[in-house]
């Protein structure tokens, strides 16, 4: 048997969590170093998977198969295909940089890193498993630590409210996902949760597909987040500590889009056809409403939070076009948006550690005092508003091409939203980092060399995948092609 590299992507963080558990709370540096080493090894493993994945044949690779509860059709199956490889890498990058960004946390360090890495383990599991039982198992693992992470280490007096709202909305969504998965299992009549088998053999009548797709749309939609279930997201972002915001916006929200692309669309293509217009309408709400709300925000994290709502709307919009280009755009947008928001939040976090405020109106001229923090936020902003050369540009372009072709007017509205995005990002950059220096902030020091490392990693990733998108796009396309074929639009 080959080296079970995917299992190790789960085992290494688990061992890291266990090691942290057995540390004394006072050994803060030891805990941080253990976390860094653990996530570093995981990142190396994820990179190995990314590089070693055989691009000449695609499909599920690195497969591991262990019968688990045979009678109930549950098998431990890990395997990655073109869709999951980039997301596994994204998660590994996010958690590795997240550990570095959280270096300054002094309060209850042990529990913080324990929960953070536990959360990332769950996300890895979701991206790698090919069995629906394990999908469900990992899916909520990713949600729960979020509550404690935000409620204990978050900022702002609303943090508990935000944490509760996030947890409950996501659990509300996952109730539909669980019900949907169980019904998928039953309706197929194959007595298996094996997703590959189901994709190959299961036949669902049109009516069932329609109902089930609705369930998955509500369930995954709440985590995407789709309008009108998005309200947990900006609030959760704003109150969470930087590393948690990074994981949250960078990876957790991708679970929704991933679930749609992985489970709902391949198994229920007719369901998507029934609900595509609804999805398109809601995604337009996301894009337009998110962008305009972002303008009105004074808190930088809220602004980024609403811009995430708007950009994740692009994912849904891309899916709703049901074309290869649109699906490619949607999948690529998930990857690109993950990197951008991670960069946003880590650079805001670096500044917030010094100023203890994120209110645009209170800041000003920060670039004079903290040139590095300003530089990286500006870079994130440029990437976020879709400047060519960065990954999001490619993703949004694909979505727009597909969108304009399919829903002319709405496609154009989506394109126009980029202008709005540019407006609020540039205004924020101008007001926060340039302009008259607020004397209150004089004497603050810039972020340290160590703080810069995670930011540089993220910028490099954004740049590489922006200049050379086919590195990821080819991978994604190998899967989206199958989806488009099922949807009959290839």
């Amino acid at each position: 048997m080959a080296f079970p590299i995917l299992s190790f992507i789960l085992i290494v963080p688990t061992i890291t969590v266990l090691l942290i558990l057995f540390c004394k709370p006072e050994q803060k540096t030891a805990i941080r170093v253990i976390s860094l080493i653990g996530t570093g090894i995981t990142l190396l493993l994820a990179l190995t998977v990314f590089v070693q994945y055989d691009r000449s044949r695609y499909g599920i690779q690195f497969m591991e198969y262990i019968p688990w509860v045979p009678k109930w059709g549950i098998n431990y199956i890990l395997g990655v295909d073109g869709l999951s490889v980039p997301l596994v890498l994204l998660n590994a990058i996010a958690i590795f940089t997240g550990v570095m960004v959280s270096w300054h946390i002094e309060e209850r360090v042990k529990e913080f890193y324990g929960f953070l890495i536990f959360l990332a383990t769950g996300v890895f599991g979701v991206f790698m498993t090919q069995d629906l039982f394990f999908f469900a198992l990992f899916y909520e693992v990713a949600v729960l630590p979020m509550y404690l992470l935000i409620a204990i280490w978050g900022s702002g007096k609303n943090r508990e409210y935000a944490a509760f709202k996030l947890t409950l909305v996501l659990f509300f969504g996952s109730a539909f996902v669980m019900g949907g998965i169980l019904y998928l299992y039953k309706a197929a009549g194959l007595n298996t949760f094996n997703l590959m088998e189901l994709k190959r053999l299961a036949q669902y009548p049109h009516g069932v597909q329609s109902i089930l797709f609705l369930l998955f749309f509500i369930g995954f939609g709440s985590i995407v987040p789709s309008f009108p279930l998005h309200t947990w997201s900006p609030e959760g972002h704003a109150c969470a500590p930087s590393a948690v915001s990074m994981l949250h916006a960078g990876v957790l929200m991708k679970l929704g889009g991933y679930g749609l692309l992985r489970i709902a669309i391949p198994l229920l293509p007719e369901g998507l056809r029934d609900w595509a217009l609804v999805m398109m309408g809601l995604s337009m709400c996301n894009i337009v409403y998110g962008a305009f709300t972002a303008i009105a925000q004074d808190d930088m994290k809220f602004m980024v939070g609403f811009s995430s709502v708007s950009h994740m709307g692009m994912v849904l919009f891309g899916i709703s076009t049901m074309t290869l280009t649109g699906l490619n755009g949607a999948a690529f947008q998930m990857f690109a948006h993950g990197l951008v928001t991670a960069l946003y939040f880590s650079s805001i976090g670096g500044m917030y550690n010094k100023t203890h405020t994120r209110m645009i109106s209170e800041l000003g001229g920060i670039a004079n005092i903290m040139p590095r923090a300003a530089f990286f936020f500006a870079l994130a902003g440029m990437a976020g508003l879709g400047l060519p050369g960065f990954a999001p540009f490619v993703a949004e372009l694909l979505v727009f091409i597909a969108g304009v072709k399919k829903y002319t007017i709405f496609g154009i509205i989506a394109v126009i939203s980029v202008v709005v995005t540019a407006f609020y990002i540039l205004r924020c950059v101008q007001r926060t980092y340039f302009g008259r220096t607020n004397p209150k902030w004089e004497g603050l020091t810039d972020i340290t060399n160590f703080d810069v490392i995670p930011l540089v990693i993220l910028v490099i990733a954004l740049f590489i995948f922006g200049m050379y998108p086919s590195l990821v796009l080819d991978l994604l396309q190998s899967e989206t092609k199958n989806l488009a074929a099922k949807l009959g639009t290839l």
Binding site: F133, L137, E140, L148, E160, F172, A175, G179
Partner: protein, 470 residues
């Protein structure tokens, strides 16, 4: 001897009864009870593969009954462990009597899990219930305790009366009282409306034991007012016995002639929704757990009324995990309540900083009760619901999953006291070594069987297969 555990249990209760006549020291009795209840557990473990019919077909010992007894004796041991020297003065003063009732009640429950004849069933039921009525009123100096015991007794008596009324219906149709004879005769019986009504009446006392609507109104008061050890006993051990009887009836007798699945599913949905919605408002930890256990009984009922193998084995699986999860919560809560003399959820304030291990085990147990993966409570629920969905109840499963979202909310309300707030008492809480060992065990159980349920599930499947066989 297959019924050695029952005999030991009986002898012990008599011994304790006589102890009450002399002045035995509390510590000695405590040690004696602990040792012998553990011995009882071992005896059950040794007889786990026993198989036999006793007393003219009225008492069946098989893997199923022994598995249930394993849980019952484990529960008894842990409950006795809880009544240590820090427990209420009234309990310590009348400790022999307390133990007497505890053991008779446990004897009743053990018999309940083996009884295959209706009169035996009823006698064991009453034996276990009446002892519990007394136990509930043990804190004589508290008015609410007496009030709760009276409520408990009245509702219990009504439930028993209803059950007896149901008996008369059944006897009318079957003219026999052993389950084997009834099963054999069921082919010739015609099922009509009156029979269904009789059957539902018949289930009354068992629903009372499980605190299923409409027999659940005693639970919050009794849970709140009794001593924590008694509350724990009622919430865990007694539920196990109730489910055991239900499983025997629903798997052995009912499926051959009748289908009352739809009626009881409505009851199950109402029960879980009622329990979960009312738990949200509670500030008293024991009262909250009472409503939560009502809701949990609703989930278990779903598995029972499926009347198929997968439903029953997953219910038994869930019962196993339910016992461990609930004990974890109660043991931790009990320690805090004893320390602070306050049973509100605020007693747990800052626990994570004072006793990280206890706090972690509490958190995991609560989340597991709420059905959060990757813990055992999730896996158990998943199994039960997948049994339900295999019969096509999509709406039921959605409601049940949404219910568990509500339950996560109030379980988190408890957990947040432990994790988000600074403690009132600053110095660390030193738990006894045994409690620490139990905590490690519970954490391991909750995670390992959540992730890898196969061994436990194989066991429960085997037990159910034996239960169904003739």
């Amino acid at each position: 001897m297959d019924i050695l555990p029952e005999i030991l249990c009986f002898i012990l209760s008599v011994v304790f009864l006589f102890c009450s006549l002399s002045k035995t020291k509390f510590e000695n009795l405590y040690r004696l009870a602990l040792i012998f209840s553990f011995l009882n557990f071992i005896l059950v473990l040794l007889s786990i593969n026993a198989n036999g019919l006793y007393f003219y077909d009225s008492y069946k010992v098989d893997l199923f009954s022994q598995s249930v007894k394993l849980l019952l004796t484990l529960g008894l041991f842990l409950v006795i462990y809880m009544t240590d020297s820090r427990s209420d003065e009234h309990i310590r003063k009348m400790y022999p009597e307390f133990l007497f009732f505890l053991f008779t009640s446990n004897l009743g429950m053990m018999m309940l899990s083996s009884a295959t004849e209706l009169i035996t069933l009823f006698l064991s039921l009453e034996l276990s219930s009446y002892s519990m009525f007394v136990l509930a009123g043990f804190l004589k100096h508290k008015r609410i305790s007496t009030e709760a015991a009276v409520k408990f007794t009245f509702i219990g008596a009504v439930a028993s009366a209803i059950t007896l009324y149901g008996y008369s219906f059944l006897f009318e149709y079957f003219t026999n009282t052993t389950l084997f004879a009834m099963r054999a005769a069921s082919t010739t019986v015609t099922v009509d409306g009156i029979m269904v009504v009789g059957l539902l009446f018949f289930l009354g006392a068992f629903m009372f034991k499980l605190a299923i609507l409409p027999f659940s109104f005693w639970a919050p008061d009794v849970y709140q007012a009794s001593d924590t050890s008694v509350t724990t006993y009622i919430a865990t051990v007694s539920k196990v016995a109730g489910i055991a009887v239900m499983l025997r009836l629903f798997m052995f007798l009912f499926p051959v002639f009748i289908n009352i699945e739809k009626v009881l599913l409505v009851v199950a949905v109402l029960t879980m929704t009622y329990g979960n919605l009312l738990a949200v408002q509670q500030k008293d930890l024991k009262r909250l757990l009472a409503y939560s256990s009502i809701a949990q009984a609703g989930y278990m009922l779903v598995g029972v009324v499926m009347m198929n193998e997968s439903g029953a084995s997953s219910t038994l699986f869930y019962v196993f995990s339910y016992l461990i999860m609930n004990f974890t919560v109660f043991l931790v809560a009990d320690n805090m309540i004893k320390e602070q003399g306050d049973s509100s959820i605020y007693a747990l304030k800052g626990l994570s900083q004072r006793a990280p291990l206890l706090s972690l085990s509490l958190l995991l147990a609560l989340l597991s009760l709420g059905g959060v993966p990757p813990f055992v409570g999730f896996t158990g629920k998943w199994m039960i619901f997948s049994a339900a969905i295999s019969k096509g109840y999509l709406a039921l499963v959605l409601i049940a999953f949404l219910n568990s979202v509500v339950s996560v909310y109030y379980y988190l309300l408890v957990a947040r006291q432990a994790y988000l707030f600074p403690p009132d008492i600053k110095e660390p809480y030193t738990a006894s070594p045994t409690l620490k060992i139990y905590s490690y065990f519970a954490i391991a159980f909750i995670i390992v069987f959540g992730f890898y349920p196969t061994p436990l599930l194989n066991w429960t499947e085997k037990a159910i297969a034996i239960l169904m066989s003739h």
